[in-house]
Symmetry: C2
Subunit: 209 residues, 2 copies
């Protein structure tokens, strides 16, 4: 049931908030009333930060990650290894991989994965720009870090085919046991992969580069 | 772990969003990235609606409900019965009760309930202003519609004592079975109340005024 709020200002905010993913009308109302109870400057800070962010964040012309300048800080960082590029689905995956501190190279954000059911074809993704980076930027290794799903694997294979003409090493993230999980609760596919791709125990002390 | 976003604008928005109740850093990041993917005017509309709402909504000087003017539309509505006042805990309860279309009188928003553990004493609530409304506004009935909790009942009793000196009828919301629930799953206290306060079956056809 649509509730009447006796205030178009509240009504507007609830309508706008409930456009956000995972936020229904009830939650939106709770958030709006929370903002009304807090200090004015807190609500204004939230509103302004959203507007500023949306107006000033653009996408890096090289890796398509979010950026405040034409080229993002990661692409601009001379300490990073520009010969290794990690291909990810979206901006969030960059943040996630950065938080592991295990990748010192650059990124390439595809903007999605190939998914005919959702109408996403290779031309909707930043695949051509990846190919031209490989051609011109002296990239030695491309790490495929898409999600381990059918769509991710399809996209991995598509990129692999596209890049196979170039002298570049193409790797993908290892699939195997999750740390902390038990064998008993690991699915057979993953467990099978972890047997196929078993590693030398001695390598776990001094990981190979 | 605090993740680095390589963008202070994104960082700010995530920080502001995660101050909202029930929204952690992960959800805040998801919302912020969603806003980045949408059209700019959509994000700006959200930000501006929050700022406008917070800057322009005030509280009704009579009933303390939210309002865009000094006196809210409900208090100003001459079609409503100004001799009946429904006492509620907060603004949301006004919206909830309005959605039942069963109350045609006015409201009085306390702004909370007496709760010594949370440091909320009667003087923090709009109880004195309720007493003066009863004294001066010709109110014939006060409906206590606080939540059926210990704190709600304490506050009900406090208001009842405060108002007992005045010639005003004091009623409270009925407690009983929830419609659609089964007897078996109704707690004993509620079931007990529903037996004590049983009503004439014939009254359910023509509810008494």
């Amino acid at each position: 049931m649509i509730q009447s709020f006796n205030s178009t200002l509240l009504e507007n905010t609830v309508a706008e908030l409930s456009k956000l993913p995972g936020i229904g009308r009830k939650t939106a109302l709770r958030l709006a009333l929370h903002l009304l109870r807090r200090e004015e400057n807190e609500a204004v800070a939230l509103g302004e930060s959203i507007i500023n962010m949306r107006k000033n964040i653009c996408y890096c012309s090289k890796c398509h990650n979010i950026s405040e300048k034409e080229v993002c800080p990661i692409c601009n960082d001379s300490r990073r290894d520009s010969s290794v590029v990690c291909v990810v689905e979206n901006v969030k995956d960059v943040i996630t991989i950065e938080s592991t501190h295990q990748h010192s190279g650059l990124y390439h954000v595809l903007g999605g994965v190939i998914s005919p059911l959702d109408g996403i074809s290779p031309s909707d993704l930043e695949i051509e720009s990846l190919v031209s980076r490989v051609q011109t930027d002296g990239i030695k290794e491309v790490i495929l870090a898409l999600n381990p799903t059918i769509e991710g694997d399809t996209t991995n294979y598509y990129i692999y085919r596209k890049l196979s003409a170039f002298p570049v090493k193409i790797t993908m993230l290892a699939r195997g046991l999750s740390i902390g999980n038990e064998l008993e609760y690991t699915d057979e596919l993953t467990l099978g992969k972890s047997i196929q791709n078993r590693v030398l125990f001695s390598d776990t002390f001094s990981p190979k580069k």
